[in-house]
Each structure stands twice: as structure tokens, then as C-alpha cells.
Symmetry: D2
Subunit: 266 residues, 4 copies
């Protein structure tokens, strides 16, 4: 009788962290391509995923300014459903198929954290920021033009974990690369029972299957990224050896499903 997709479950289902799917998303984002040590990338992949030998440590870092909504205009409660996000995707192979794996992801909102955990995104809470583009431009921000710069930063537990920069060069007309590598995550739920702490009840490889993906206002140029050494954190093991393309665009999509690729408990 209790209702709610995530905690808490209540008689009317209003207090739950999230309404039931479908989940609607819109965002502005920065995407920065980089190459880390191949061994650092390989060390982060869960069982069932293989390093992509062609990738040579290739990955991408992303800064997102998101707006979320369920089916009932939840975007009209921006204090609860608007959020910012930083994450990293690493090239990998699943049974020889090119995929992306997300080892690190941070948001500034609990509803986003809960949705992420339902999709295998290993989210933590952080403070994330990116430079905004406004229709009314001036010296307070970049226009969408060659040479314009957009920066991103993320701080968790009081430590600056990453800084990125995208310098625009030209509009991006070919959006095909965005869809080529699906995101495959490790869906994991631990068990606190003393005799089962090494037997997680949920431990699967899952594939994200978002749909109605729109990408607009995309510009491409150069990216830069730093992942500083921080106490109690391992993300700096992915510190870029070099960086590549940088993209700044807007996107929207819908999430209402998740596909299990492999149950790792068996």
C-alpha cells in the first residue's frame, strides 16, 4: 500500500525522492576528451568489462547543469529537482562491443543521487559548477563563438577533485559520435548483515537505454582537464596524460528502463 519509487515509501507517494519513471531531463553540458594511463583505466573496470586495447586510456569528463522532471511538472520545484553533475566515462569492451563505463560521478542533489544509484551510477554528493551561456551576453560570460571559453569545477568533501575548460572552435554538425558507446554501469547494492557483507544482493552489469535524445547548440573545440591528488580519493589515478576535443552543447533525453547485461553474482 506504501507508494514511492525511492525512499521514503508513504501512503500517497508524495515524499519519495523521485516520482516513478519516465524521467525527463534537459541540460547544458561540457564534454572533455582525455587519455589516462591504460593501466589506471583497466584497474577501474568491473568483472565482465574488458579494457579496449584501441582506446589507449581514452575517456571523457562531463559537467552537466540538469533540470529533471517526472510527468507532473516537477521542474516547477527547482529547489528539489534542479541539479549539477560531474562524471567520467571510460572506454571499455563488453563481449567485444565498445561501451563506456562510469567509475566516478558526483551530483549536488539527493533525488539525482537516488535515480543514479537505480541506474548503477556510483554517485556521491559534491558542489559542481560550469560557466553559463546567457542569451544576453557581455563580458560576464562567453558567447557561442570561436574562442569562447567555458569552465567547470567540482568539489567533494571540501576538496577540489577536477577542473575542466572547453575553448570553442566551431559549431559541431556531426553528432553521430554521441550515440556510439552505450553506458554500461556496475549496479551494486551492499548487504550489512554480518555474515553477508561480501555477498552483495545486487551486483550486475547494466546498460543504460535512454531515448528521445536531443543534442542542440553544439560547439566543438579544445578541452583541458586536471584531476588533482586529494586525500582519501583515487580519482587522480586517472590524471590526464593528454586531452583532446572539448564540446559545449545542450541536450535532453528520457529514462524509463535499464537493461541487465550480466548478473555478476552467478
Amino acid at each position: 500500500m506504501l507508494k514511492g519509487f525511492n525512499y521514503p515509501l508513504t501512503p500517497k507517494g508524495k515524499s519519495t525522492l523521485n516520482p516513478p519513471p519516465p524521467w525527463h531531463y534537459s541540460a547544458d553540458f561540457l564534454n572533455i576528451e582525455f587519455w589516462a594511463k591504460s593501466s589506471a583505466v583497466a584497474a577501474l573496470l568491473p568483472a565482465g568489462l574488458d579494457p579496449d586495447p584501441a582506446a589507449e586510456g581514452h575517456g571523457s569528463a562531463y559537467f552537466y547543469d540538469w533540470q529533471f522532471s517526472g510527468e507532473n511538472e516537477e521542474y516547477l520545484d527547482p529547489a528539489r529537482y534542479q541539479y549539477r553533475e560531474f562524471f567520467i566515462l571510460l572506454d571499455a569492451l563488453f563481449k567485444g562491443r565498445p561501451v563506456s563505463y562510469c567509475p566516478y560521478i558526483f551530483v549536488d542533489n539527493d533525488a539525482a543521487l537516488a535515480r543514479g544509484w537505480s541506474q548503477g551510477y556510483p554517485k556521491r554528493i559534491a558542489q559542481v559548477f560550469q560557466t553559463r551561456y546567457y542569451a544576453a551576453t557581455g563580458k560576464a560570460g562567453p558567447s557561442l563563438a570561436p574562442g569562447s571559453k567555458f569552465a567547470g569545477s567540482i568539489t567533494a568533501g571540501g576538496q577540489r577533485l577536477a577542473e575542466g575548460l572547453v575553448t570553442l572552435k566551431e559549431p559541431l554538425s556531426d553528432l553521430a559520435p554521441f550515440g556510439q558507446r552505450p553506458v554500461v554501469n556496475l549496479l551494486h547494492t551492499p548487504r550489512l548483515a554480518a555474515d553477508k557483507q561480501d555477498k552483495p544482493p545486487i551486483h550486475e552489469l547494466v546498460e543504460n537505454v535512454p531515448h528521445d535524445i536531443k543534442i542542440v547548440q553544439a560547439w566543438i573545440g579544445e578541452g583541458s582537464l586536471t584531476l588533482p591528488v586529494c586525500k582519501g580519493e583515487e580519482i587522480s589515478d586517472l590524471a590526464p596524460i593528454r586531452t583532446g576535443k572539448g564540446i559545449r552543447a545542450s541536450m535532453a533525453y528520457i529514462v524509463d528502463d535499464l537493461k541487465t547485461l550480466k548478473d555478476l553474482k552467478k
Copy 2:
């Protein structure tokens, strides 16, 4: 090969939200007894728990200022492991045995949220505050003396969800009531896969089994509590009809286990 109790799982296990149990806790807390409508309490209980007819809607509200640590002096990273919490416990019965059920709980820290979810505590993120007692007193705060007042407040999604007040009367010598009702939670993990959204993989009644519980510096007096009506929230359905005792004390305990009472999926 990947390590970590909670997300994220990494080669060295440093980035994880939480070290493995045992988990050590110390806190100052306020405890406010109240009576809500019996029907409102009954409506919040999950399958497997029954209303306690003797309770007449009895519950308690708690404000905690916590410090957490694993086995490696994690309390020396207070930005990551110190947190504040508000929660409600409702009297209920499990197979005729008096227990407490937690329908609402809020913290200001992601590691605490993750540990809570592992124990069936349906935590969301909020801003929680309580009046502090300092060894160096003056007019900036209460002393531990008759008539002293301690207040608590909690705000989630920008809305004030609860306010509480404890007025001290006398030291509390009999701590027996603290252990009488174990906390029984609904351990719940949703499934996003489109054809399984009504089939949560984990849906159990679990009993919290903390140990080495210490309660010191306890004072008892009168409590008051308000649960205002808020948009998109149901907690005000528990608005107190009357309030009773108020307690202010310090406590410590250890968590390293969880007991499943009943698998509700079967």
C-alpha cells in the same frame, strides 16, 4: 578486485562513500515524544508490521549531531564524516513484539545517507540544526540545568519540515526505556528495468542491532514539536495531537550487522 562498501567501487577502496563496518558513532541528541492520529501512524506501516493498539499514535522525533568513524580515525576528516540528522520513530508491533518503525529521516551528508539506506533508513538530504551545549556557557547557549532550552529544526527542499524544543527538568537516571523497542525498518531497493518496476529486488523488514550503546549526560523534561504542512511532503500527516517528554543527552554506539526479520517479496 574492486573495493568499497558503498559506491564507488575502486581499486584501493578509498573513494567509497563508507569504509566497511564496524561503524562507530557519537552524538548529542534531542528526543521529543508525541502522539499523532492513530490512523496516520497505521497508514505509514509497511506490510508485516501492525499498529500497536496500546500506543494511541505514539512516536518520537529525534535531532542528532553525529560524528562517524570507521576503524581508521575517519573522524579526522570531519568535512566528510560529521553530520546532522532528524528522524521519526513510530510505535508498532512485529508479530506482537513492540518495535519502532522509521518512516522519515533526513541527514546533511551523503556517506550518512548511504549507510542509512543499507540499514533500511529512508534517508533524504536536508539541513538539520540543534542548539548546542558548550562547556563554556553564558547567554549564548543553555547549561545543563532545570529550565534550559534546546531547539531543533530541519529543512528539506527549501521547506521547514519540523521544529522541536526540549525544556530540561532534571537529570535522567533510568535509561532503561531507550532499549525497549528495537528499530525495525523497511529495507527497499527499487528496480528500474521497465518490466520490473513493481518488483523491487530487495523489500524486507530488517531489525537494527546496534551494540555498545552508551547514553550519558541525559536530562529529561518537556518536549514540543511541530510538523508544518509543506508542498510535496506528507510528514505533516503525523502532526502531533499532543507532545510529552523531552530528553537531551549524548550517546555512542557501534553498527556492524543487520538482521532480516521477513522477506516481504515472498
Copy 3:
């Protein structure tokens, strides 16, 4: 030898809350017209300003998502210089001239608070949010079209102080009304010295003189606004009797000067 516009003053002037003017701003904003009790408006006006008898309690509420920069691409440090704001402007007269007076204003950033105090804006810190418009639209947010809705909310000290909503009707072509009433503030600095606490060293009426104002992408429609009663707050004395137009637009301007209209100490 110490440098810095605001605190702290240091040898190189890097740690200061703000670079020296000119200050560049870009934003998206919501503007909601309302009428409060005329007596409540009159009670808030400082010496030197008179109620505008034609206004009948007229004022406006604003939600802003700002990006700030000095002359050195400060917008590339969005964690430090991006911020959100809520404020109210009330119609008044200065020597018979129509002006606007700002009795309440809140931001989520200390640099913005410091700049505001330099201009007589009586800023406090709060959490402010407004619905965003993204180039990639969907059900996660409004498009710029008739019937689209944008909401704003603000919470200070854990209490929800205001909620607003703008429903778009049509593009706004005539921007003339935006410039008609200059903002006149009470520039005030208190004195802590025991014998001078009633003799503020700075207590002036000042006129804001921003320039290079651009307003684009403006839509007009209907506005609604609530100012709930909150403990320890007076803003609800302005609770709207009725509301009028609502606007959603983007703007940019430059601030590098302030004009003293009247020294109230003399």
C-alpha cells in the same frame, strides 16, 4: 599597499571578495508584479523617500540566475562568481520623482553579498532557485511559448520566504518600462563602538546607475507570488493582495558607479 575592493585586503589583491569595478553581469530572470498593503510599503521606506500615492502598494519580485565577472574572465571560476538572487522592489518617490526601493534581497554567494552592500542592497544569504529554459527542450522544462511556466523559490535560515510563478503569454516587444524607475537604496554601515551604535557612519540614499543594459528573449504573461509568514521575518507584511504581470527574460549590464542622492546623517 594592501589591495582589494572588498575584504580581505592583501598584498596582491587576489583574495578579495571582488575585483575592482567595472562589474559585468548576465542573467536569466523572472519578474512578478504585485500589490501589497500601501501601509506596509510606506512602513518600509527610509527617510528621504515618500510613498508613491499612485502606486497603491505596487512592487515587483525578482528571481535572478546571475553570472558575474570583472575584467579578467572571472566567469571561468563559476564556483566563486555564479549566483542566484531574489529581491523585491517597491514603488516610491524621491523628491517627487518615481523610483524603486529595495527592502529585501537575498543571494547564495558572499562576493555578491559584498557587492550588494556596496550599492545599498541589504543582502542576506539564502538558497534561491528558478526554473531554467534550455535550448534542448522536452518535458523536463518549459519552452519559450504561450502557456509555459517558470517557478522561483527562496529559503533563508531554513524557512521558505517566497514562491513565485510566471506563465508566459507572448513575447514582450516594448522594453521601455524596465528603465523608468531607477533603484534607490539605503546605503548603511553600522558602528559597533558602544557610544556610537545609534550613529551609523554611512547612512545615505543612493541611486544605482547601471549602464549598457541589454534585455533579450523577453516574454510576458501572468505572475503569481506568495510571501508566507515566517518566524523572525517581516517580509510577509508585504504579502500580495493581488498580482499582475509576469515576465521571463535574459539581461546583461555593467556596474561601475553609484550616485549619492542624500546624506541622511545631516
Copy 4:
């Protein structure tokens, strides 16, 4: 007719950031002694203060967990009046008299920022944390005993500006050193008027004159402190060459006055 010590000024004086003095404070704090380059200390001193040749770059760093109150039990609104603080004091001379000067200070609360500015403390907003001592001890925190450790950290604009550690050795019986050097600040208010930006209306050396100072539960031992290099910040110019004593104690005092030592504009 408008009331309020700080902004905003309103008819009833309830919305103001701070009630009028006297201001009451209680806290737990960490104090870490350090020596920076003498030239770095000298470079930070304002006109009217001289380097203390005997100090050899000596200063102290402080982490405070504060509770504030005016005369009306403001400590019962902890969301508004409880706060955390980090600051540095440097040895200096005023007309040959030993004093302390505060070049950097950070709090997580706007009311505290406003009170600080009234006293010449150049406060910015940050996230500050220190390890807590609880009456109910365990492995979640230190007891007051030899070898116990207390840590502090501070993050502003997303960057970790300082980390400190105090390791207790023994109770501190002689509290005399706490009162020997009064705090002398630079009280500074900028002027935005274009032709007066180099003529601050308030620019004075002021002496803090707190009274009814109580220090209790004091322990002394060793301190350590790091001030990492951060973008857009100068605090790391004070990076310790060596550190000395560390103290952990509780204190209370009252502030209701400020003494001007020298008007630097003349």
C-alpha cells in the same frame, strides 16, 4: 524609524541579520601556533601596524564551532545563528605594543559575516569543520586525554584553503597567554562612487574589546597546519615553516563595543 543593526532595516527590526549588541558567544576551538616567513607576515600588515621583530613570523590558526545569541535566546534558532569559523592571527606591533592582526577569516553564516565586518574581521563564506568531542565517547571521536587528536579543515570557493591538527598532551592550567595580545583589525568600507573608489569612507585600525572571557576544558599539545597553494588565493603565502603548540578548549565571551585606535584616512 527603520530598525536593525545590520541590513536589512525594517519597521520591527526582526529581519535584520543581527540583533543589537550585546552579542553572546560560546564555542569549542582549536588553536595552532605556526611560524611563516617574516616577509609574508610583514606584507599583510596595514598601515599603522609594524612587524614584531621578536615574532619571527609567528602567528596562530583557529577553528571555531560557535553558537551566537543576542539578548532574546537567539540560540533557539540554530539554523540562523550557529556557525563555524576559521581564522589566522599574526603577531604585530601597534605603537610598540604587542597585538594580533587578522588577515584572513572565514565563516559559514551570513549573520556572523556581518558581525565580523562590523569589527574589522575580513570575513568570507566557507565550509569549516572540526572534530567534535562528545560526552559519550568511543572510536567515533577523541576523548580529552593524552594522544587524542582533533582535526580542522576549511574550503572556500571549492578549494581547500587550510587543514590543521591538534594532538593533546595535557590539560592547560595557565590561561594567561590568551589575553596578552589584543586583536587589532583593519575596519574598512569601500566606496563604489566612480570618483571615490580610492577613498574608502571607513579605513581605521580598531581594537576588539571582548569581555567576560571564559576558557574551560583547555588541553595543550602539538599543532600542525597546512595552507595549500590555491588559484586566486594568497593565504598560502603564509604557509608554515614550522608549527608549535596546539590547543583544544571551550570558550565564551561577550562583544558590545569596539575601540578605534587610528583613523587611517587622515
